[in-house]
């Protein structure tokens, strides 16, 4: 489940599928196909718990126990990618089901097809990974540098840009060194590593674009309005896998960590594995688990059910033994910590107050829709007010109102 229309299953219960085989078709342009991530038999097509809280139709596959390599499906070899046209490259990206790996899982082929009136001249690869605890991108950059850089070059080709920047926070000096070395080794002209200030939320695309190019994305706009396209390093890596190795999007690197996890680390996990199995595999003390987050502690989503599966955008599983935040909120003391913390320069305290008083028009006029939900405001609030929660409600209502008016 991601932005865009859901995929439609093309298999039935009882079918045998190979790893990497298409099991659900994309429906429409802003949509992405789904693939079997393990070889096995389709045992059910039903609604299961989705990490985001609701139920979602899913295809359940039970593993056969047979050798993975023999039962894997690869897409046809395209030969040297440099010889392909940008349309062919784009088609492969689409058919392989590549979506954004940064958390939003926006279908990549859509992002790489900006409308003709938007002039793109810069590609930014997001290696910031500013969320605490998450290190999946860090490891990817260290261990698969050549692969994701090749993916970057492919994307540059698709977008027809000559400049790409890889933004890496300065708290990953080894990654900066390794990637810079690889770029020199592979003679990749046009790709440059930019070390970034280690400051949350440096990885937010608006902040990243400004830090690297000093351009500002207009309110209500997208990166393409600033002439840039931003892709996570994982996405660039998936592009490489799709184009060069013929591998459809079936698995991803996930940081599994937290207080009760006895074997924390970055795991390569097939998409679709239930979270419970992942935690048990990582030797988690299930009795002390109070809260499980998908993603990092600042913007991650709290899970309601451990039966929910890893999805294409899961970057981390974080286990907490404390039920933060506490329910106890105090009055706003007007201290301004939230104002200082907000990277978009909003006044979160005021927005929260408007929403709690149902003054959604006021919230709209005070730019509530510009909030990137990074959580910096609520993090710094001494009264422990759930500012982001209120702002989310505000955004929800404003968007609903706008839809109704259309």
């Amino acid at each position: 489940m991601h932005i865009g229309s859901p995929a439609k299953p093309i298999v039935k219960v009882g079918d045998e599928v190979r790893r990497g085989e298409l099991i659900a078709e994309a429906t429409g342009f802003v949509s992405s196909p789904v693939f079997a991530s393990i070889p096995g038999k389709v045992t059910a097509i039903s609604d299961v718990d989705h990490p985001l809280g609701k139920k979602s139709p899913a295809i359940e596959i039970t593993f056969h126990g047979q050798d993975e390599e023999e039962n894997s499906y690869y897409m046809p070899d395209l030969g040297e990618w440099q010889k392909l046209s940008k349309e062919d490259l784009l088609k492969r990206v689409q058919e392989a089901g590549v979506v954004g790996r940064g958390g939003a899982s926006f279908p990549t082929h859509v992002k790489l097809t900006p409308p003709p009136d938007k002039k793109i001249d810069t590609l930014i690869i997001n290696g910031a990974e500013c969320e605490p605890y998450l290190t999946a991108d860090h490891r990817l950059m260290l261990e698969r540098a050549e692969e994701f850089l090749t993916g970057t070059a492919i994307v540059m080709r698709i977008l027809e840009v000559s400049k790409a920047y890889v933004g890496i926070e300065k708290n990953k000096p080894d990654a900066i060194r390794v990637v810079q070395k690889k770029i020199k080794e592979l003679n990749m002209a046009g790709i440059k590593v930019i070390p970034l200030e280690t400051k949350y939320p440096q990885g937010g695309e608006k902040q990243l674009i400004y830090a690297i190019t000093k351009r500002v994305v207009p309110s209500g706009g997208l990166p393409m309005d600033a002439g840039a396209v931003v892709q996570n390093v994982g996405t660039a890596h998936s592009v490489y896998k799709a184009v060069v190795r013929g591998k459809s999007l079936c698995y991803r690197v996930v940081t599994v960590t937290g207080c009760c996890v006895k074997k924390p680390g970055n795991y390569i996990i097939p998409v679709g594995v239930p979270i419970r199995e992942v935690l048990e595999y990582a030797d988690t003390d299930m009795a002390s688990v109070k809260k499980v987050l998908l993603g990092g502690p600042m913007m991650g989503i709290a899970l309601a059910s451990l039966e929910a599966p890893i999805i294409k955008s899961t970057s981390g599983i974080l286990v907490l033994s404390k039920t933060t935040p506490s329910i106890q909120e105090h009055n706003c003391i007007n201290c301004g910590a939230c104002v200082e913390a907000c990277p978009i320069h909003l006044i979160p305290s005021h927005l929260s107050k408007y929403v709690r008083k149902n003054r959604f028009d006021d919230a709209e006029n005070h730019n509530v829709l510009d909030c990137i939900e990074c959580g910096s405001c609520a993090y710094s609030c001494p009264s422990k007010i759930n500012l982001v929660h209120d702002i989310r409600l505000g955004k929800n209502r404003v968007i609903a109102k706008r839809k109704k008016e259309q």
Binding site: P132, K206, Y210, A211, V216, V217, P218, S219, G220, G221, K290, K291, V292, L293, P297, M298, M299, G300, I301, A302, L303, A304, S305, L306, L320, T323, T324, P325, H330, N331, C332, I333, N334, C335, G336, A337, V339, E340, P343, I344, H345, L346, I347, S349, H366, N367, D370, E373, G375, S376, A378, Y379, S380, C381, P382, S383, N386, V388, H389, R392
Partner: protein
Amino acid sequence: MGEEQKLLHISSSPHIRDNSSVPNIMRDVIIALLPALAAGVYFFGMRALIVTIVAVATSMLTEQIITTKMLKRTSPLGDMSAIVTGLLLAFNLPVSIPLPLVAVGAVFAIGVAKWTFGGLGYNFINPALAGRAFLLSSSMAYMTGAAFRATGTFGKVPVSLSGIPQESAQEIADKTGLAVDAISQATPLAALGSIVEKAHFPVLELQDAFANLFWGNVGGVIGETSVFALLLGGGYLLWRRVIGFGIPLTYIGVTFLLFWIFNGIEGASLLSSAALTIPFYHILSGGLILGAFFMATDMVTCPITLKGQIIFAIGCGVFTFIIRRFGGYPEGVSYSILLMNLLTPLIDRYVRPTVYGTKGGKA
């Protein structure tokens, strides 16, 4: 899994918080006020401590009764804001004020200025200053003039209540014909008002008072006299990031600037020592340092944005100048801050930071 599947805790992100809290902030303010309290006791004697204790205890008791007995809520005393109000109220009172009046001031500060509006976060004026203003209007005799007699700890008597050393005070008396008694009863600003402006006092001799004003060897209310102790506390608050530089620097700066330009000395060039003496004398006296670091910076009653806070501090400086120069009060700080507190909601309504992505906004 079995039926007793444990429920997972869910909430909106973010799922972590930093360790700032209201009690932590209040605790830092209390620590920052301790040097000034020590100075007050040193220069004014043990009674200063007793006034402080009465103020703090009454504040806490009033808050406890209002919340648990009248409003039937849990006691908010744990956030320590009542202690801070009690301390600041005491610091704004003269040492010889009758103790029942201290209690009355505290009840007004906590009960009226704070709790009629809903408690911490809802008050629109600084409760301690409101308490002081109430006492000033209702019991002026106990708040001014002769109230500033002082016998310091260890039997010390301040060199003279205005800070101007006794020898100079005698010379002044000889030169101007004013009785020595009248001079030594005045606080620094009163001295300035009566001596300089009325008797054409040689301004440069005011500089003799600077050292006394800085260390606190002068008359005044309990907490305002030792600039040194107050700066220590102010520095602590800045270091702990409880307050920012915006309000204190702007308030003191604007006051200094206005008294420098409009120093009231005929024919003196701005760069002359005489012209500079006036603004320095002003910022060292009258509780300006106390006000700029501890009262104007009260978070609830000052604007939430930096731009707003600077405007607020400029307003405080302007009003302080106007009241001191043209008004009857040698004070000015408390009323300036109270007036600007009233304007804070207006400032917050119209002064907003430039949102990223809108005209002029940057990340």
